[in-house]
């Protein structure tokens, strides 16, 4: 075993830091408008096309499906000094969420005895009524970094068993939420700001991770607050977060070329957990009350369109 890639990373990041520091202190090149490169673009695109042709001729096959323009955009080496990229969206980061530069890391994690926000309290008994004290101990050492968790409301953590020996903690937190605005894939503006949500922390999986999906109040109301992740045995650990009054959730799956099926999740204190087949996402989610009546059904129309398209053996179903 060699540590070559580690050494390369160390050198690369050190050089990158130096480059950015030089860029930040130098006016030459920094913030240079991108259109100044226009004169070079035909040359670069021509070069990229040449590379594509050469690569194809040599059977490289790496760039199959990539358009010359895309490769011209992404694949070329840099052609002009531009230490601070002018095409970056405008990013506004709240002070609590700043990392890097003068802020080497997030502030220390706060384990708060306070209650979550009124917004969460208004829809979740979980956020109003403290639970037993074992939650904070259970999540000790959880990875706060993927979501940049700032605060844990430790008295309100619920631990749920999902069968097959799988457990998860549902944890009210303040985290750094990224809100993109603008059209298309490239946001024109990004705001990173503290927000409250419920996160799911798997307790018995290694490595310890936090579910990527955060259940904000808006997502919970939408019916699709469904945090989940793969388990080591290739199942899907499916959490559910629902508002007060829901005691059972039925997820309906309509996989193409297979029989439709449903999975039921029992809810307690607004949350539930099951382990299910990993293959599909639900096309609909239904909420039921304690007396059995249907409260509401939410439909993922995009998923249904896809399933119907696949069933019709059409191509290009995405």
């Amino acid at each position: 075993m060699s540590d070559y890639l580690d050494r390369l990373q160390t050198e690369l990041l050190a050089a990158g830091r130096g480059y950015q520091e030089r860029g930040a202190t130098s006016s030459a090149g920094a913030g240079r408008p991108r259109r100044r490169l226009t004169g070079l673009v035909p040359v670069v695109v021509s070069l990229a096309v040449t590379v594509l042709v050469v690569a194809a001729a040599l059977g490289i096959g790496l760039i199959h499906g990539a358009s010359p323009s895309a490769t011209g955009q992404h694949g070329r080496g840099p052609v002009s000094p531009a230490p601070v990229n002018p095409t970056q969206p405008k990013v506004t980061v709240a002070p609590a969420c700043r990392t890097g530069g003068a802020h080497p890391g997030l502030p220390p994690l706060v384990m708060s005895d306070a209650a979550p926000s009124a917004q969460l309290r208004s829809i979740l008994a979980l956020a109003r009524e403290p639970a037993g004290g074992e939650g904070a101990a259970a999540i000790r050492g959880f990875d706060r970094s993927p979501l940049n968790v700032l605060t844990v409301f430790r008295r309100y953590i619920r631990i749920v068993a999902g069968g097959r020996g799988v457990r998860a903690a549902f944890v009210p937190v303040v985290f750094c939420q990224q809100i993109d605005s603008g059209s298309g894939f490239t946001p024109s503006r990004i705001r990173i700001t503290p927000a409250q949500a419920i996160i799911m922390v798997p307790l018995d999986l290694a490595p310890k991770v936090t579910a990527v999906t955060v259940s904000t109040a808006a997502l919970i109301r939408s019916g699709f607050a469904l945090p989940g992740l793969d388990t080591p045995d290739h199942q899907w650990m499916q959490g559910v977060v629902v508002p007060d009054g829901v005691t059972r959730v039925v997820m309906h799956f309509t996989p193409p070329f297979l029989h439709s099926y449903s999975a039921t999740v029992a809810i307690r204190d607004n949350v539930g957990l099951i382990v299910r087949r990993p293959d599909y996402t639900p096309t609909s989610v239904s909420w039921y009350a304690a007396d059995g009546h249907l409260i509401r059904t939410f439909v993922d129309r995009q998923a249904i369109r896809l399933e119907n398209c696949l069933k019709a053996h059409r191509k290009n179903c995405s």
């Binding site: 060699s2 050198e11 490289i60 080496g77």
Partner: protein, 190 residues
Amino acid sequence: VITQDLRTDAELLRATAQDVEAFGVFYRRHSRWVLGFLVRRLGDAELAADVTSEVFAAAFLASGRYDPGRGAANSWLYGIVANQLGSVLRRGAAETRARRRLAMEPVPVHPEDLAWIESLATAPDVLSAMDLLAELPEDQRALVTARVVQERPYDELAGEEGLSETVVRKRVSRGLATLRNRLQERGADR
């Protein structure tokens, strides 16, 4: 504490301008397959290491220009790898432009490194599937690579691609089915 960074590649590249460590996470996800792929293609461990350095230096410099609307980040990186590879095949040596711009010191390749890098060229499974992978349609190739090679979660890929998780799973499934068929065909050819 295990620090598994669950940010998407697009998020990491976007964060690089403010946080060099974000690029480090991106590098750790992709450096092994880039090096393995290059040594397979070039047949020279030292040259492959040299090109890998240049690939990631170029990727660092270009990270702010990455546009998720034009394709997945691994496709973008494929583009850089292909570009550098084409340059090597024309010039007979790795480019150094990006590393010079970064003022990056050379990273020596020791004899024990060479043996390990060479071993990547003949590593079974994933790397041997790379050639077949390159033949898949773009939408499937990028997702199969991300899911199977880099072991990234479906929901992360769905977020990065702007697709539903169902679509991502379907594309990965179709890509794997194609790979299986082609592997069987090759097996039958032998």
